[in-house]
Structures are given as structure tokens and as C-alpha cells.
Symmetry: D2
Subunit: 145 residues, 4 copies
Amino acid sequence: MTLAMNKALMNTFLASVFQEVSNEFHVEDVCEGKVTLRLLVNEKHLRPGGTVSGPAMFSLADVTAYMLTLAHIGPRALAVTTNCSIDFMRKPSSGVDLIAFGRLLKIGKTLSVCDVFIHSEGCEKVVARASLTYSIPPTGVELTN
Amino acid sequence: MTLAMNKALMNTFLASVFQEVSNEFHVEDVCEGKVTLRLLVNEKHLRPGGTVSGPAMFSLADVTAYMLTLAHIGPRALAVTTNCSIDFMRKPSSGVDLIAFGRLLKIGKTLSVCDVFIHSEGCEKVVARASLTYSIPPTGVELTN
Amino acid sequence: MTLAMNKALMNTFLASVFQEVSNEFHVEDVCEGKVTLRLLVNEKHLRPGGTVSGPAMFSLADVTAYMLTLAHIGPRALAVTTNCSIDFMRKPSSGVDLIAFGRLLKIGKTLSVCDVFIHSEGCEKVVARASLTYSIPPTGVELTN
Amino acid sequence: MTLAMNKALMNTFLASVFQEVSNEFHVEDVCEGKVTLRLLVNEKHLRPGGTVSGPAMFSLADVTAYMLTLAHIGPRALAVTTNCSIDFMRKPSSGVDLIAFGRLLKIGKTLSVCDVFIHSEGCEKVVARASLTYSIPPTGVELTN
């Protein structure tokens, strides 16, 4: 399966579709079946105690699985998450970005299944692990703006 | 089991601990084993297509389970989510708030388990359903700021 | 939405499709959007310590969601589970059957989503809670034996 | 972290604790943080259509995470599953055993978190993926039979 988008296109797409968060997420690397994203951690991602919040990690996992799916099917913005199971295992290190590794486990006509492992940059221990299912819209049903 | 916090205390706690999002969440109702929260939907919660984003719904589910746990054990801010499984079932209605109903399924010394159902205000169909496990810190380990 | 199968048909279907376990599961009640099943607990369901095993509870949750889906779409045996998230919360009581309450949260053309609460008979505390997604085969793709 | 049990001890433990299923599961390999188990597929694992049933795959994932946890903490039979999220992605091949690869993502004093990938023997595509949380009993609380 060849990629439908390369890294530059994926970052352009992220910036156009998620304007308000485009400075938070960056596609670092993509190849067949795999993607790496960075969450540029800022104040608004933090929780009491100074750690990155659960919702910020969920967002990172969700965007990672979304971009990984689109890398293989092309920029169909309306793909939607149908299920996510996420385990939070350790506190992220403070003051560093989070790195997410996404892996495509299945891609069919109507569903994709990915898993995502999140680490603090520079530390190999897993901070969070998620599996996500995305529903893929039929071809032709797309954004018009 | 009696409640450790009433609705007014819960909203005060929310405002002090989550200053940046305290105008987004509001505890509507609480009783033994149950809580109702409102997400005051604004522009930043929206995704392409005008629907409330998955991460915004995850945040609502997470804050609901957190506040429900604290309602029963008191304001221990350091309780942390260890697991969440969430199903996204329908698009939320546009232009209305989301309402979350949380139910405490178990509360032990070290873990609580809740489920949360999310609806668009004024519509009884379930938009999302989540189950969450919270790890409860030992008494005495608390925020000091 | 009317039911496609009543209780008697559902038990006949269970007995014909799952011959080896048909004496373990019994549909107790069914109405629109809801079903109640019984697991007739026997020796082979038990784990060290005398409690019903996790796999036996998973089976009960899975059969409950399957029968609930089929009650609404008719006896399409090839419906398959795509995802299950299950929380085990308490030890079941020994020496009594398990009762599962299933609720249909969504049924579409290709997917159904259910949740299932499992109790020991005669005790209202939840022993396990599961949510399951079933993939529904297109009409006409069915068992021929 | 050194292993508390080697492969031979793990198979002996399996045979003693799960007498009724000890001829179904076999520990193939174990090292720090990883384990491989085999499900010797037989008639009773099959579903309509000839494929291995979801509950049989759940059992395999559950026993894999259990044995992986015990490999690191020693034979404490009373460790219990508190949560499992499982995705079923493809039909297993017929007529061959299933192989499960378990990986320990976290092991603490009270919880372990594992993920498990299941394949049909001789085929690298993932049939099912699960993540499981085990609750670890305090030292000294053990089986006495």
C-alpha cells in the first residue's frame, strides 16, 4: 500500500483543517503503516501538579490515528473516531514535548484500527497507550469549505 | 455513603483547580453515586463539519468521572485517570451544550470506576459513552499550592 | 423499531447455532432495545478461588450483545464482535448464576453498539460491565448449514 | 528486573492451576517483559463459520497477560483482571493454532498493564489485539489448596 500523502502534505493539511491547534501538533515522520507526531507542550496542556493532562494526551493519540489513516486514504477530513481505549501509565516528564508513535493495524473500506504509544521526548518509557477505531466515509463525501 | 462535597463546593473546586477551563464545565447536579455536568460549548470545541470534537467529549467524560470520584472522597486533586474506553456514536447537535451523566460503579481504597453518558442538551439520544478508572492517591498526598 | 425475534425464537436460535454452549446461556427476557440473559454457572466456568472466570463473563457479555443485536435485525449468525471493553469490578457470589442486562445504544446499517451489566443473581452490585461493538454483515450473507 | 519463573515452571503452574484448560495453552517462550503463548485450537473453540470464537481469543489474551505478570512477580494465583479492551480485526485461519505475543508495559506494586497481539500460526497479520490491566494481590495473600 503506497502512501497517499507525504510528511509535508500532512503538515499542510493539519494546518488548514485544525487551524486552532496547528501550532501544537507536528508530523515528524511517516512511512507505510507508521507515523510519528509531536505535541509541542504548552501551558494549556498542563494539569494540577504540572503534568500534561489526560485530554491533551487523548488529543495527541486521536490526531495521530487520524493522520495515520489519512496518510493511507488521502485527505478525507470527515473520518471520525468511533472508539478509543487509552491507558495512562506514567506521568510525563515536565518541560518536554510528547512524541507519539502510531501503527496501522488494519485498514478496510469502512474502518481503520491503529495503536499509539506516547513517550516524553528523550525517555523511552511509555507514558500512555491507546487503540483507536476510525470510521472512513465513502469516497466523495467530503468537506466543501 | 455520604457525599464529601456538594454542588457549590464542586464548582468552586473546579474553578480553582482548572482555572483555564472553569468557564467550560459546570456541575449541574450531584447525589450519591451520580453527577450531571454541562460542557458550555464554544468555538474551540468544534471540529471540521461544525461538530464538537472527540477530545472535547473526552475532556467532558474525564472531568465528569473526576468530579464524581471527588464528590465521594473529597477534594484530592491528584486523583489520576488510569484507563478510559470511549465510544463515539452520533454527531452532537450543533449550537447546543453537551450534558454528561456520570454514575459511580465502584469506589474502593485505590480505584474508582465510573461510566458516563453524553447527550446534546434537549436530545435524549446518546452521543458518546465512556467508562473510566481513576486511581485514588493515599490520604495526605495532596496539592500544596 | 420492532423486534425481529421473540424470546422463544432467540432460545431456539441459541440452541441451534451454539450447540456446545446452548445449555449454558438462556434468554430470560427481551424487549425493544433491551435483553436479559442468564449464565447457568457450572464447574467449567470457575477459576482458582472458586469465582467465575473472566473468560466466562466475557462470553456472557458477548453472547448478550450478539443476541440483542440479532433480536433487532434477525438471525444473521455471521455478525462479529469488532471491539469489547470490559471492567471486572467485584467477585461474583459463589454458587449462583450470573444475570446480564444488555442495552442497545446504537444500531446502524453496519455496526451495533451495546452495553452489558453483569450481576450475581440476587445481588444488585455490578460484577462486570462491558461495551461491545458488533459488525453487521450485509443482508444475504448468511450461514448455509 | 529478573524473571521469577522460567518457561518450565510457568507450564507446570498453568497445568496445576488451570487443570481443565492446561492442555489448551502452552508457554512457548518467555524473557524479561515478553511472553509467547500458544492456543492449541480444538473443536470447542470454534464459532459458526468455522472460525475461532471471540471468547477463546479473549481467554488466550487473558492467560497471556496473567502468565506474563506472574513471570515477573512469581506464582500468585489470585492476581485478577480488572480491565480488558480487545479489538478483533481479522478472521483467524482455520485449522491452525493461535500464537499470542504479550508485552509488559508497566508493572507496579498493585497493577500491571500488558498488551497482547494474536496471530494465526504461520501468518503475520494481526487477528486480535488486547490491552489488559491486572490487579496484583499483596504478598502473602495466596491460594492455600
